[in-house]
């Protein structure tokens, strides 16, 4: 297009329209390029032919307006969130009517998963080397927490799942909920602050709960500040972030990892019903054991008493037996046994006769069956 200038008092003057047209035409000669930045202020409406957003340089904050045909944008099904990093393919363009400069976008690619992954892996190695994920750092959860801290999004299903789970298992539980951003650029700071705040309020255990989400959504839970806050938390932390296959770094730093928010609830509080029945069983056992111990002692004492009652008679019988035995032996030694064999004992007066006495001496003769008198011839 030819841009016409008019001569006014010796100057070449362009109309605004002509100027814009000229710049626009010149810009069209620039090549189509890839530009990297973060998507912000995304505006999309069904009645608009185009989708508008601002591409922002994450380091310097420099901005670039961008416009893309809505049909092309929708066809990509990117479901872009605020702050997501993208590669945009397009060429510079001037919107002549307004003199706005912008990028006419032909295509968008989500970018940064690879770069994020590499950065994440480096962070993971560094923190692991510091020992933040070490098994020996893991603390057991309190058996019956007096106060549970819950860090979660403000209307998240995760929050409902944890609270429902806790109340069902342990109705008297006390829970403080700290609502935070759970994705986007402010999430890491709010989560970190919430952890410190809950600790200051005296919780015994903290549950970090967030449902599943995209890789980018879960990135704040791998943020170094969050990971350090979890590792350095003075009370045990249960992490229930994302789905089973996601492993944000806070999961590694937490004392216990729960696969779901409901599982986290089961971990932090005991089952009241089961607790009650265990107590009842213990009480029953206490009662039975006390009675059994008493009965066992009573048995032992009674047995000893039984033996004691028999013991003196037994001892006397044993003594009598010994006496009888001695008596028997004594008897065996007495002369009577000799008389039984036909011998006789002859006595003159008190003396036993050992030499023949003079004739006429009166003697007494002892035989087995008795004694009789006689006179020596």
């Amino acid at each position: 297009m030819k841009v016409e200038a008019t001569e006014v008092e010796g100057r070449r003057v362009y109309s605004v329209r002509a100027f814009n047209q000229g710049v626009a035409t010149w810009l069209q000669r620039l090549p189509t390029v890839w530009v990297e930045g973060e998507v912000t202020e995304l505006r999309r409406q069904a009645r608009w032919a185009s989708v508008f957003f601002t591409l922002k340089d994450p380091e310097s904050g420099a901005c670039l307006s961008a416009q893309m045909p809505r049909g092309t944008f929708d066809a990509l099904r990117l479901d872009l969130g605020d702050g997501e990093r993208v590669h945009v393919y397009g060429r510079p363009e001037l919107f002549e009517q307004r003199g706005d400069f912008r990028l006419r976008v032909l295509s968008i690619e989500r970018y940064g998963v690879g770069a994020h992954l590499a950065a994440l892996e480096r962070l993971k190695q560094r923190l692991a080397a510091e020992g933040l994920f070490a098994t020996e750092r893991k603390r057991p959860l309190p058996r019956m927490p007096r106060l549970v801290g819950l860090v979660t999004g403000n209307d998240a299903a995760a929050k409902r799942d944890v609270l429902t789970g806790i109340v069902q298992r342990f109705p008297p539980a006390n829970v403080i909920v700290a609502e935070t951003y759970v994705q986007g650029p402010r999430a890491a700071v709010t989560v970190t602050t919430a952890i410190l705040d809950l600790c200051a309020r005296g919780v015994d255990v903290i549950v970090l709960a967030r449902g599943g989400g995209s890789f980018e959504d879960l990135l704040p839970f791998s943020d170094e500040r969050v990971v350090r806050a979890v590792a350095g938390c003075p009370v045990p932390v249960v992490s229930a972030v994302g789905h089973e296959q996601d492993t944000p770094l806070c999961d590694l730093a937490a004392d216990v990892r729960a696969s779901t928010p409901s599982a986290a609830a089961r971990l932090v509080v005991p089952d009241l019903g089961e607790l009650r029945s265990r107590l009842d069983r213990a009480r029953g056992a206490l009662d039975r054991n006390a009675r059994r111990t008493c009965a066992r002692h009573a048995d032992r004492v009674e047995r000893a008493h039984e033996r004691l009652r028999r013991a003196p008679l037994l001892a006397l019988e044993r003594k009598r037996a010994r006496l009888d035995k001695a008596h028997g032996r004594l008897l065996a030694l007495s002369p009577r046994a000799t008389l039984e064999r036909g011998y006789a004992i002859v006595r003159a007066g008190d003396a036993i006769v050992r030499t023949p006495p003079p004739a006429g001496t009166a003697i007494a003769v002892d035989v087995a069956e008795g004694t009789f008198g006689a006179r020596v011839e």
Binding site: R283, D287, A290, R291, C294, H297, A298, R300, V301, A304, H305, R307, L308, A311, P312, L314, A315, L316, R318, K319
Partner: protein, 65 residues
């Protein structure tokens, strides 16, 4: 001398029974030992009854609660 504990009394009672059953006890000592045994038995039995009573009472109170 302080009253023997249940365990002391029970141990002494059993020792006496064993001595008597072994029979190496003088005749004059026999009745003394036997009396001592009966005395110890009474001590044990009383302490047991007291303990049993306390358990029943506590169990009763726990039931009421």
């Amino acid at each position: 001398m302080t009253a023997p504990t249940f365990e002391e009394a029970q141990r002494e009672l059993e020792q006496i029974v064993e001595r008597l059953e072994r029979g190496d006890v003088g005749l004059d000592e026999l009745s003394t030992l036997w009396e001592r045994g009966e005395e110890l038995y009474r001590v044990c039995a009383e302490q047991l009854s007291a303990a049993q009573g306390r358990i029943e009472e506590l169990a009763q109170r726990a039931e009421e609660r």
